[in-house]
């Protein structure tokens, strides 16, 4: 049943990616592609900023693709969680654990083969996602979560983590449905904090500071395509970063002062020595970050698999 469900889900995903991926390529292989090689005035002349924005908005399906983050969890919900729980629930463990091979061997072989299976499916999914995202990667890079979570090593690491978590939970909980629910919660409880709290700090962010300029917008980087921007704002001449309160004070002072200053509020801010800053992770850290994140999840996989094997071998199950 679960296998059928998984095949259907993956076929739907594959179908969706094929149906949207081909038009996306067609849209990309025109002016958008040209814009990527332009800089400076030429970039501005072709109104590339707008073209790229438009392409991003149209092509990326951000809202929908976010749900794809649940796909690796399926390995835990439908393969991992029932693995031992279903046996205990139906009493078939009394059949299979009293055959000629020990249950230690039984569980080791099962885990090994299923880890292999999940890895193969996850790698295939990654390959399709990487093909699908290729045009988007040219525009926005792949260090942003929407790219990072679906390319390289991470999808496979997530899927194996979900599988190992499901297997461990199912072994302890002994009921398939509660095990599935707990596995989903557990998966999210690790996956989100790692993405939001740990990943931005795998390496110290790079900070770029420049003079405040309204025309350059808030981004002081020369060429920041593909960087993962963590935060940005204003700092005063002593490099003190302004809090929100200080910012609104500054803005009201600027609009008051603008009356007396030539060039308006922007000129006021510039004149008073305020600077723009941006904290970001450079695009070229993609593989380092992939390695770190995969290592985190794969260590959890090893721990959980070891725990499952130990529990199956050592605990009573009458």
């Amino acid at each position: 049943m679960e296998a059928v469900g998984a095949v259907v889900a993956l076929s739907l995903v594959g179908g969706f990616l094929a149906l949207t991926g081909l038009p996306m390529r067609a849209a990309f292989n025109g002016q958008v592609h040209e814009c990527l090689s332009l800089t400076g005035d030429a970039f501005r002349q072709h109104s590339c900023q707008g073209l790229l924005r438009g392409f991003e908005n149209q092509a990326t399906f951000d809202g929908l693709i976010a749900y794809f983050n649940f796909l690796p969890a399926l390995a835990g919900l439908f393969v991992g969680a029932p693995l031992v729980a279903r046996e205990l629930e139906r009493g078939t463990h009394r059949l299979v654990w009293t055959q000629g091979i020990t249950r230690l061997r039984w569980v080791s072989i099962k885990l090994f083969l299923l880890v292999l299976g999940c890895a193969i499916v996850a790698v295939a999914f990654t390959a399709v996602m990487t093909w699908w995202r290729f045009p988007i990667d040219q525009v926005q890079g792949r260090l942003l979560p929407v790219g990072f979570d679906f390319e390289g090593l991470t999808p496979t690491a997530y899927a194996l983590f979900a599988f190992a978590l499901g297997a461990a939970v199912g072994t302890v909980v002994r009921r398939t449905v509660p095990a599935i629910a707990i596995t989903l919660l557990g998966f999210l409880a690790v996956r989100f904090p790692v993405e939001f709290l740990l990943r931005p700090n795998y390496m110290a962010p790079v900070t770029t500071v420049s003079g405040f300029s309204a025309t350059a917008g808030s981004d002081p980087r020369a060429d920041g395509r593909g960087d993962w921007i963590l935060q940005g704002g204003l700092m005063d001449s002593t490099h003190h970063r302004l809090s929100n309160g200080e910012l609104s004070q500054l803005y009201s002072a600027a609009s008051n002062g603008a009356a007396n200053t030539k060039g308006g509020a922007d000129a006021y801010i510039q004149a008073h020595g305020y600077l723009s800053y941006v904290d970001f992770q450079p695009a070229n850290r993609f593989w380092t970050f992939q390695g770190i994140e995969a290592a985190i999840f794969l260590s959890l996989v090893v721990l959980l698999l070891g725990f499952t094997v130990w529990w199956v071998r050592a605990r009573s199950a009458g």
Binding site: R90, R94, G100
Partner: protein
């Protein structure tokens, strides 16, 4: 001689409740032993301990001298186990055989097929589409194709209709006759016992009440009928298992300790079923003083 199944003060506790307590027994090889007792007496617990599904809280259990938990490879290769309600995967019978082949180093495929075709089980059908009797035959064929030296069966015939039960027990006895394997099965169908088993273990409230060779057990127990009395004088030499009183008459089930000389009693033989029922109705009887040990059978206090 190494026992097929030996337990030394074997105990299993779940929370505060003892499922089995201080169980000591010794089933010699080559026997067909029945494990009887009311529900919750510890029959399933004892079998699960013997096959290593659960670990004892205290005491030891050994199968041909090996521990099922510490030496599972050795024990599992020698033990066939048929769990209660005959768990099977929702596979075809053919696929179940393939599973057995893969999970057992000593697997006798021909034996399984011979047995299944003899009882007319269709190999292409899925196990959940089979009748209860056929499922039991599949489970038995799987257990026997392992070529076990000890076969443990947990209520194998319960929930089967009388015909299927008879067929099942016959199949089982055939296998015993062919291979001389030791069998331990739990049952509460007393009618099966006399025909089938030659060794009996009575469990009650987590304790072993009585264990031993059935012939000796039958020979040692007598029914005493006489004028109404409290049976105290007879109880000084022999052990009164059960006493029934009418207005004028007293009938005793007695475990004898030698000859009965008192001429006021009429002594008659009993059936195995009478012995079993007598003990099951008197779950406290195992607390009697320990009688002398008779050869090859153990009387457990």
């Amino acid at each position: 001689m190494i026992s097929a199944l030996q337990a030394q003060r074997l105990s299993k506790r779940y929370g505060h409740a003892w499922a089995l307590r201080d169980c000591t027994l010794n089933i010699p090889p080559g026997r067909v032993a029945a494990l009887v007792g009311p529900n919750g007496a510890g029959k399933t617990t004892l079998l699960h301990l013997a096959v290593g599904l659960i670990a004892p809280t205290a005491g030891d259990v050994e199968v041909f001298g090996w521990s099922p938990r510490r030496q599972p490879t050795v024990v599992l290769a020698r033990v066939g186990f048929l769990a209660q309600d005959r768990p099977l995967y929702r596979f075809t019978v053919e696929e179940m055989l393939a599973l057995g082949r893969r999970l057992n180093p000593r697997w006798d495929d021909a034996l399984a097929r011979r047995r299944l075709s003899a009882v007319g089980v269709p190999l292409r059908r899925r196990t959940d589409k089979l009748s209860g009797g056929q499922q039991a035959q599949v489970a038995l064929a799987l257990a026997l194709a392992k070529r076990p030296e000890l076969l443990l069966l947990d209520e194998p015939a319960a929930s089967l209709d009388p015909l299927a039960r008879r067929e099942f027990m016959e199949g089982l006895m055939e296998a015993v006759a062919e291979d001389g394997l030791t069998v331990v099965f739990s049952s509460h169908v007393l009618a099966d016992l006399e025909r089938v088993c030659d060794y009996l273990v009575i469990l009650s409230a987590a304790h072993v009440q009585l264990a031993g060779d059935t012939d000796e057990m039958v020979a040692r127990h007598k029914r005493l009928t006489g004028p109404r009395c409290d049976g105290e004088s007879i109880g000084r030499v022999h052990s009164v298992v059960q006493a029934l009183h009418t207005d004028r008459q007293t009938t005793l089930l007695v475990r004898t300790n030698g000859h009965i000389y008192d001429p006021s009693w009429t002594v008659s033989d009993v059936l195995l079923e009478d012995v079993v029922l007598g003990y099951l109705r008197a779950p406290g009887v195992h607390a009697l003083p320990k009688p002398q040990v008779v050869s090859d059978s153990e009387w457990v206090p």
